[in-house]
Symmetry: C2
Subunit: 376 residues, 2 copies
Amino acid sequence: MSRGFERAEYETRIARAQVLMDRAGLGALLLTTEADVRYFTGFRTRFWESPSRSWFLVVPREGPPKAVIPSIGAALMGRTWIEDIRTWPAPNPEDDGVSLLAQTLAEVGGPVGVPSGYETHLRMPLADFARVRDLAGLPFTGDAGIVARLRAVKSPAEVAKIETACAIAGRAFARVPEFAGEGRALAGVFRDFQRLLLEEGADWVPYLAGGAAQGGYADVISPASEMPLRAGDVLMLDTGAVWDGYFCDFDRNFAVGHVGDGVAEAHARLIEATATAMEIARPGARACDLWRAMSDIVGAGETAGRLGHGLGMQLTEGLSLTPRDETVLEPGMVITLEPGIDRPGGLCMVHEENIVITEGAPRALSPLAEAEIPVM
Amino acid sequence: MSRGFERAEYETRIARAQVLMDRAGLGALLLTTEADVRYFTGFRTRFWESPSRSWFLVVPREGPPKAVIPSIGAALMGRTWIEDIRTWPAPNPEDDGVSLLAQTLAEVGGPVGVPSGYETHLRMPLADFARVRDLAGLPFTGDAGIVARLRAVKSPAEVAKIETACAIAGRAFARVPEFAGEGRALAGVFRDFQRLLLEEGADWVPYLAGGAAQGGYADVISPASEMPLRAGDVLMLDTGAVWDGYFCDFDRNFAVGHVGDGVAEAHARLIEATATAMEIARPGARACDLWRAMSDIVGAGETAGRLGHGLGMQLTEGLSLTPRDETVLEPGMVITLEPGIDRPGGLCMVHEENIVITEGAPRALSPLAEAEIPVM
């Protein structure tokens, strides 16, 4: 699997954005987040972990994008397909790229569309944003959902990267019984599982969640405790491992020592739910249809969380499998199927797979779990 | 080393914030980022990796803070010291906590201070923020730098966590020669080093950077390449490993096979620079004084990047060692000393240590490197 993308991939992304910008009457897009900047440039670095520097990409209605970035990133951005790279010596709290960005936007012309809707944020200080708006002298508005809409439909090259990440996690999950079992603390299991993901080829492991308790687990977002696993626990590990900038996001359940009461049935029900959703996950079906198909099996109430979501350059992105989301599936969308089922004592069990929508039946990107819960 | 903090630690943080809020005439603080919310609550989860949900904390001028969060986080927030927890079933694109947050703010009263300055961002959709402002019917303004100012000075319990992360990374750096050497690809070295950090006790490894080339490296933010290490290369690894929510951030240089021309001298110069900065890093000295002391030794020009920065709940936070930053050091500040030196061919070498400012001489949190560059 080769890293990066052909230049044509980026040119296509920009061309599609510009068609939609024209339709929405936008003169420019202003992008500030890691995923949005990388989507159009290929600029890939873990340096975004530092909040000290802002990074900007301006996509004009015509012509190639312009990067307005701290000088520390000039060399790396220079190795992407981007040619118009403007830098300032950051951090400079008096003018942290503000005047350079405003000048670039003024050259390009407005209205300036800034992603402002669901799942977006502006990754720059609000005070700087206000100054840029004043200096640029252009109207600012939302991006009409353009960036999210483009990113929701993956190219074959993007799907291949997600599939690679899924395969890595699949190999790591297969090895969990090597190190997890009765008496091991969950925190140690979390640590070892991350090591395994790296060993199997992940570039890094931005996300790991899970839980373990008798017959289920209390929630799926808590950090791991030092409590040792006990026989009868259900252990769940859920990872977002990254390969070449793309995530997988799926989990696996394991029965520790023996299968507790009702656990086998609950697990089989979860697998049935994902299988049923896969049967209808074709172009034209809506996110809410998949939610309904799964919730009919696992019994999720209307107020339950979502039962899956889009996936790609971020752990979660795009549609949500909820009763409210009427997004129509299109070929190239990559989504997770993530049914959850209530368990006695306020516990739950959750199962998750990753699939890509095609013209026909969806293709599984994660190695589909068996109906029978593995015992270790 | 025990995890978490005593309840008194959070009460002190809130009390200090409220003194400053009173002085700044603020009725509430509205916090939206992982670090800011965690600072006042102890709410720790890797679930922030998902952009799909917003999380809010409202700190009133009097009384305890109020969490306004997705219901999926209620159980975990319920295990912190926070008692006033208001939830909504997210994601709900029609009203993703907007009315609940606006109502909470209206109860508390304004003006509402939102972190808006250097290194901050608003982690919620801009369109939702505009609706909250309209609905709350209160004046919104910046936070007068209050949160950054509080977070800049660490408690002894916070320093202990950073020191634990530093010790973990120190043990991992000591083992680098076990797996890195001539012929190994840098990408493999990155992967193994992350595994080592986990093995030595890191909870996770949000940041890893580095470089390797003949006698130096081209930049310090690029992802690792598949190019094998060669004799004469200088290998640098720089990590932000996390323990219980606190970062270390330091690097180490290694000579591969043999020490290239000028490398020993450059390395010794870098060590001399950090040692010199440590001599003057006492209360009353300014960030720019430390910059000057190091730049006199390594020859950094006025336009060079910073030579160090604050450190704590984020990889970089607070002051910058630049000629422009006149922040006065105070006991409890944790900073990095990070001098860089130019090398022939457009290359550089960078060295980094972590220290805490005390009433007297600073205390090293990272195990200080020797002047002699290790050969492997």
